[in-house]
């Protein structure tokens, strides 16, 4: 039969002629043979997006249903009674499916397959990657000498089936270059090369692999890979793209790879490290992963809109990174090809919808992270203590609040500067509301008759409510920010006596700003910043009990912040109530609370003393402040559908642990579980792709039915299972095994026959030959030039950048290149400041994404701009000078020997005599030319030989062999 595989790129076609894979089998397999027919011919109209005639071939129950026509679509065991068979075989243009204008009719073989499948009982099966992987024994191979391990046996069996033969082993120098760049992102030094070439022991290669895996440079290399997926950038993106301190997360990733944090834990910590009981500071830094979504602090942007966009980005990124599944389309409608329903998206979004962060410029919530990792434990303990003390103080106050008998007046008078107030009775109680426009800095003055005949009071409660409470719970309104609270007792004769305030008690344990700032006056005090979902309140505690003489009234002044959210939206209370109480507990000194406060202040001081940076983290709202999650109709966040009562994972996958509370942590554990059919497959495929240049699934971004099928399904599944079990999710073990294969160690030369048969090297009958990544291009040149400076971690650096590139929208964001000779000028690429709107030119030119969103695969290009970069970019020019110095000063002997050193440094290979002749001819010509015209060397070198070596060095850095691994 003709097998039609969905394709994502030009790669597949190249190999198609030799991919006629049809393992003979008795029964028709739905996922392998039927689903592709449906996807090819039917699902555009009868799928997840459109269900024309109420018929869908995505879902089992629908396909076995009747549709609008009332005729059974598929009758298991009876093709002739199945409407689908009548339609695909019909000769009537009005009846036949697909409709003639939509596409050609099914091929005879497809019809036969379909009929046979129905006859066999129409057994439904899920798409291969939605079913748990199972390990297979390695297949038998004819050539028993070639394989190093089972991976090779799977690969060789396929090659033998295709009539291909593996290539000879790569020479040792080429192999060490390949494995060094692949594992650490750096070329081998000449000493390392020589040591390996001299080592004739049987495990010589294995020793090198272990050395590389143990190198601190290993984590830096793999962090670069992960940072594309995590959409890591040092700026916030979108409107202003200001700098954002998140580099502690980058260092966490580097360290996680270096200490070989098992991939399942690596996953759980990034998705839900904050929810792990007794989370360490490290585990909380890991959650910066989710906070790398973009923020928009452009003036006039709606913080809720961009909170929602960030939340959706977290859903999409989680699925793309860990599940290799595109979820973006399910925002608006059910998945077009895979059985994931629209509602599934919002059930999953509910895991993320309780995060405290809400697109405010302060990046709240953030944690302080010591610059020195040795202080993490100390700082972590202090933060834990602070959080727990705040919680204890809050709980004491909350419990007092709930015991307090609050009296709300039935009458009130109100007026306002910069707003108009009206007083209405709601539930029999007085309430103020604004009418019409409000402006920033509005000052509400509320005059309240004393309720319940109180003769004194000990606390006053200010309550702010959304105007439309039912709606605000899922689509919030702009909140209020109180600059200053003032209380006055107005005596019967009109004399006003100010009431000194001792404390403002908020209705949450960890408010973004200190509410007590609203006693003295501050634009950042008590309030809802910047949105209000629910009624909120603060309790104002006077310094001492306040007498209320007969005939007196109370005046409450709410002075609002004079700055607007995003420079546009005034934060003004639009609706609220006042209540008072004479409960003396509020004004009675409480030694227990005072002790807690003293401890809190001491802990804060101790934390402040540790030199630190900050990083934004995940943190969930307390239950009383939880938002309501609803489905968005057609993906529009303004247009809310039904309530999502409980977070959950799509039904097509094995369920979450039913005993676990369905929160982000449970979701993370569900992803990192061996039961999850995708996680290990996607991970194994990704690491494979980095080493071999093409994944076993060539579309790492899509493991769904629109992606390509694996070239070696049993191998992928076996590796996935082994990664979870034998290797205990150890990335280093996985990589060790991959680079130990005979396949990896083959010569990368491409015989003409193979170039035609398997251009993309999917069958691995030769070794991989990949161009350096953007990061490697820089690091390799720095290393070859002897300039590279190795230091672990730290704030982003600003290496040389061509003039005129750095023109940020946020002019405060400066690029400060250190002077020549300063270490930070020569750090590895992974430490370069990564601004989303101004990508570092070398990286962008060499196909690095700008990392606004998760990027699953870099599509390599080969452009003149790359040539111009390595030839002329000032940073590469500095490397050429460095390499020239090494040729001139580090080598012994004549010019040819110096050129040979340069060639070997740049390519790890010894230069052949003809190449040395070519280089020498160039060198001689240049030296003569510079000697004849010394002025022409200006700005380059002091001597003709130095100048000639510099130009030759530039040629060496631009060699094809210097740009590949």
């Amino acid at each position: 039969m003709t097998r039609l595989l969905p394709s994502h790129g030009p790669a597949l076609a190249a190999i198609l002629p030799c991919l006629a894979i049809v393992p003979a089998r008795g029964a028709i397999d739905f996922a392998h043979e039927i689903r592709p027919i449906f996807n090819a011919h039917c699902t555009a109209c009868h799928g997840g997006v459109k269900e024309a005639g109420d018929v869908s071939f995505i879902y089992h129950d629908k396909a076995l249903g009747k549709g609008e026509s009332g005729k059974p679509i598929i009758v298991p065991g009876d093709p002739d009674a199945s409407e689908v068979m009548l339609r695909v075989t019909s000769a009537d243009p009005d009846e036949v499916m697909p409709k003639p204008e939509h596409g050609p009719p099914l091929a005879k073989k497809e019809i036969d397959t379909l009929r046979q499948w129905i006859k066999e009982g129409a057994v439904w099966g899920e798409h291969w990657s939605f079913v748990e992987p199972k390990a297979s024994p390695a297949p038998a191979v004819k050539d028993a000498t070639w394989p190093h391990n089972d991976i090779d046996r799977f690969l060789l069996a396929r090659m033998e089936r295709e009539g291909l033969h593996p290539s000879k082993p790569a020479d040792k120098a080429a192999l060490l270059r390949r494995v060094s760049l692949d594992l650490t992102g750096l070329p081998p030094s000449l000493e390392e090369l020589d040591a390996f070439l001299k080592d004739n022991s049987a495990d010589a290669y294995d020793k090198q692999v272990n050395r590389l895996l143990a190198s601190p440079r290993f984590g830096e290399r793999w962090a670069s890979v992960w940072m594309d997926l995590a959409r890591y950038a040092d700026s916030e993106g979108l409107g202003i793209d200001s700098r954002r301190d998140v580099w502690k997360y980058r260092d966490w990733v580097i360290s996680a790879f270096n200490r070989d944090l098992p991939y399942d834990q690596f996953t759980v910590e990034q998705l839900a490290g904050d929810l792990i009981p007794n989370a360490t500071i490290d585990q909380r830094i890991a959650t910066t992963f989710s906070r790398l979504s973009q923020a928009n602090n452009e003036g006039g942007t709606d913080d809720e809109e961009f909170r929602v966009i960030a939340t959706m980005d977290r859903v999409n990124t989680t699925w793309e990174v860990f599940q290799g599944t595109t979820m973006g389309c399910v925002q608006c409608h059910s998945h077009p090809y895979d059985p994931i329903q629209h509602k599934d998206y919002y059930r999953f979004l509910a895991f993320y919808n309780q995060s405290v962060d809400a697109d405010v410029p302060e990046n709240h919530p953030v944690i302080k992270v010591p610059l020195d990792p040795a202080k993490y434990a100390e700082a972590g303990a202090l933060e834990e203590k602070i959080s727990s003390l705040e919680e204890q103080i809050f709980q004491t106050r909350k419990s007092l609040d709930s015991r307090t008998r609050w009296l709300t007046p039935r009458e009130m008078k109100g007026s306002s500067e910069k707003a108009v107030l009206e007083i209405v009775k709601q539930d029999g109680l007085a309430e103020f509301r604004t009418v019409g426009n409000v402006a920033a800095g509005a000052v509400h003055t509320l005059d309240i008759p004393i309720p319940g005949g109180l003769t004194h009071f000990n606390a006053l409660k200010v309550e702010v409510r959304p105007v439309d409470e039912a709606k605000a719970i899922h689509t919030p309104e702009w909140g209020a920010m109180i600059r200053k609270f003032e209380l006055q007792v107005i005596a019967a004769d009109g004399t006003a006596t100010p009431v000194p305030l001792a404390e403002i008690v908020a209705d949450e344990a960890h408010p973004i700003f200190d509410p007590n700032l609203s006693i003295k006056g501050s634009n950042e005090g008590w309030g809802q910043y910047t949105k209000i979902f629910k009624p909120r309140h603060a309790v104002l505690v006077p310094a001492a009990q306040v007498d209320l003489p007969p005939g007196s009234t109370l005046r409450v002044v709410l002075a609002h912040s004079t700055s607007s959210a995003g420079g546009a939206y005034p934060l003004i209370a639009k609706r609220g109530r006042i209540a008072i109480s004479d409960d003396t507990a509020w004004t009675t000194p409480d030694n227990a609370v005072d002790r807690l406060k003293a401890d809190l202040s001491a802990a804060r001081k101790a934390l402040k003393a540790i030199p630190s940076t900050t990083t934004p983290v995940m943190e969930d709202l307390p239950p009383e402040l939880a938002r309501e999650t609803r489905r968005f109709i057609r993906g529009n966040w303004i247009d809310k559908g039904e309530v999502i009562d409980k977070p959950g994972t799509p039904a097509v996958f094995p369920p979450m642990d039913p005993k676990a509370k369905p929160d982000r942590l449970a979701m993370a554990r569900w992803i990192a579980s061996q039961k999850n059919p995708l996680t290990a497959r996607v991970a194994v495929n990704r690491f494979w792709l980095e080493l071999f240049g093409v994944g076993i699934v060539p579309t790492p971004e899509d493991f769904g039915s629109a992606g390509e099928r694996p070239t070696h399904p049993e191998l992928l599944d076996t590796l996935a299972v082994r990664f979870e079990t034998d290797m205990k999710w150890s990335v280093k073990s996985l990589l060790h095994e991959l680079v130990s294969t005979a396949a990896y160690q083959q010569d990368s030369a491409i015989p003409t026959t193979l170039a035609e048969r398997d251009a993309d090297n999917r069958l691995l009958a030769r070794g991989p030959r990949q161009r350096l990544t953007g990061e490697m291009a820089r690091d390799n040149s720095l290393a070859v030039a002897g300039l590279i400076q190795q230091r672990d971690g730290g704030a982003p650096v600003n290496p040389p950048i061509p003039d005129g590139v750095w023109r940020p929208f946020d002019s405060g964001d400066k690029w400060m290149t250190p002077e020549p000779g300063s270490p930070d000028r020569y750090r590895r690429a992974v430490y370069t400041y990564w601004k989303r709107s101004i990508p570092y030119p070398t990286f962008a030119t060499f196909d690095a994404p700008s990392r606004e969103l998760c990027s699953k695969r870099r599509i390599l290009s080969n452009t003149p701009l790359q040539a111009l970069a390595v030839l002329n970019d000032p940073a590469f020019n500095e490397c050429a000078k460095g390499l020239a110095r090494r040729m001139k000063y580090e080598a012994q002997g004549d010019v040819k020997e110096r050129l040979a050193l340069g060639y070997r440094l740049a390519t790890s290979r010894p230069a052949t005599p003809d190449r040395i002749e070519d280089l020498n001819a160039l060198y001689t010509k240049l030296e003569k030319s510079y000697a004849a015209d010394p002025a022409s060397m200006q700005g380059m070198a002091g001597t003709p030989d130095g100048a000639a070596y510099t130009v030759v060095a530039s040629v060496l850095l631009n060699l094809d062999e210097a740009l590949i691994r």
Binding site: A14, A40, T301, A749, G804
Partner: protein, 491 residues
């Protein structure tokens, strides 16, 4: 000689692989999986990997060969330039009618704002009688070359997302720009220059930055190349100090020799492509500074445009645009910053900053139209002018209250004016009409995706067929919602 033969043989292999990859390859395969017949499905776009920018033919005869797109970054007020609303004069200073506010979201307007009448005098011009305000006296003389669309609509009302939607068809990042789609679909005529070039004036970059000319999921060779007013006109086109053109040639000859040897050793077709790219880089180093230097333009041209060599100005960029168009660049994208007339400060007000911006562009645009016309290039060059959205007929009152300190308008995605001139569009024509306040469309709305469909049509493409499979979807410039070609403006 031997080397040349060798190279030809290698190129042959490369090309053979490419040819085998393409015609019956993935195009047909993908369409089969998508249930599309080849008559109505995705176009087969395939490039020679060693010359990915070589010209290709579109599906049907094109009217336009190249675009000069003048983006006024920040969104100029249509109510002060082209969309004359006498009723708005009467309403000046009155409270905005309620029906205008219901269900609307604004960036900065709070509560009930006041209406704001047009700030400048309008007159009819030319044979066509097009209304233009007195801010564009030079441009007014050319209205008979121009087709106004008064009823543009967008979905976004913040700058960043709105600019992305305009240039990439999607408000999110990561989608190819119009220029990338066109150079991917058509290649470009001059192999010594990039096919998609970007020129920026006004002192600041657009908010969405390089994503506005990014290639998204298309190969990066189709991304826009930004020309610079400081430093090299294109990044890294100048040799380092001490490297003359002769020395570079000698170095490249050696590099090419060594790379050919590497190809003999490894047989990698990418090596052949790399050799070709280094040669193109070398040619670009000459042709780019050449085409980007306006020094040698005659005095009357400088006079006409108001250009001053060495300055960072919109006028200079207009002249450069003409030079690039003449040199065969497919898509020339200009951005001019400073049109966000909120009234929050003098520079961003209708009475001050806006007046200056109009002066900056008036003469230069008139000159560009004249110059293209005189050279016979307006026939197949499409000139487009516009912002990312329009502005409200209400006066902005940021932070609440009656109005900002200076006079300005907020963002309006519901209706705005753009104009097109040249290749295949009706000259001296106005399409669509807004309501009496210029706030909503009264008839003939044109969404951005309709603009995209129309532009592709002018280049000989059916917007439904110029697509690229990515993330399980046939991605198109016009997105997933239905788009239509605005036949009414086609000549």
């Amino acid at each position: 000689m031997f080397q040349q033969l060798q190279t030809e043989k290698l190129q042959h292999i490369t090309r053979r692989r490419f040819l085998r990859d393409c015609p019956a390859g993935i195009g047909a395969l993908w369409m089969a999986t998508q249930g599309l017949s080849s008559g109505a499905g995705r176009l087969k776009i395939s490039h020679d990997p060693s010359a990915p920018l070589a010209p290709l033919l579109p599906s049907f005869a094109p009217k336009a060969k190249r675009v000069i797109y003048l983006h006024m970054d920040g969104a100029p007020s249509q109510l002060e330039l082209f969309d004359y609303k006498p009723q708005l004069v009467r309403y000046n200073g009155k409270e905005c009618p309620k029906e205008y506010l219901e269900g609307q979201r604004f960036a900065f307007i709070q509560g009930v704002p006041k209406m704001l009448g047009p700030q400048f005098e309008f007159k009819q011009h030319g044979q066509s009688g097009a209304w233009v305000s007195d801010r564009l006296p030079e441009f007014s003389k050319h209205v008979d070359k121009v087709c106004f669309i008064k009823t543009m609509q967008t979905d976004q009302f913040n700058h960043g997302p709105a600019q992305l939607l305009l240039h990439t068809g999607n408000q999110n990042l990561g989608y190819p720009a119009m220029g990338s789609w066109l150079t991917w679909g058509l290649g470009t005529d001059n192999q010594n220059l990039p096919g998609f070039m970007v020129l920026i004036s006004g002192g600041r970059f657009p908010r969405a930055g390089a994503s506005l000319w990014g290639s998204g999921f298309l190969p990066s060779v189709y991304q826009g190349v930004q020309c610079r007013s400081m430093g090299d006109p294109i990044l890294n086109t100048a040799n380092p100090p001490g490297v003359s053109r002769d020395i570079r040639r000698a170095a490249l000859d050696t590099l090419s020799k060594l790379n050919t040897k590497a190809h003999e050793d490894f047989g990698d077709p990418e090596t052949i492509t790399r050799i070709a790219q280094y040669e193109m880089a070398y040619r670009m180093q000459v042709s780019v500074p050449d085409v980007m230097s306006i020094k040698d333009e005659p005095a009357h041209i400088h006079e006409m445009y108001g250009t001053q060599p060495g300055k960072d100005s919109f006028a200079n960029n207009c002249l450069l645009a003409r030079r690039l168009a003449e040199s065969g660049v497919r898509f020339i994208q200009l951005f001019d910053w400073g049109w966000d007339s909120h009234g929050s400060n003098a520079g961003e007000s209708l009475t001050d900053g806006f007046v200056k911006k109009c002066k900056d562009i008036d003469k230069a645009i008139a000159a560009l139209l004249t110059d293209l016309d005189q050279r016979g290039m307006l026939e197949d060059t499409l000139v487009v002018w516009g912002g990312e959205f329009g502005r409200t007929p209400m006066q902005e009152n940021r932070g609440g209250g009656d109005g900002n300190k200076f006079t300005g308008r907020d963002h309006n995605p519901n209706a705005f004016t753009i104009w097109m001139a040249g290749a295949g569009v009706k000259p001296g024509f106005t399409y669509g009409e807004t309501d009496e306040m210029g706030y909503h469309v009264a008839r003939d709305p044109v969404h951005l995706r309709d603009l995209h469909a129309t532009m592709l049509n002018l280049f000989g493409f059916d917007h439904q067929r110029l697509s690229y499979p990515f993330q399980g979807l046939e991605q198109k410039l016009t997105g997933v919602k239905p788009a239509k070609v605005v036949k009414g403006i086609l000549a």
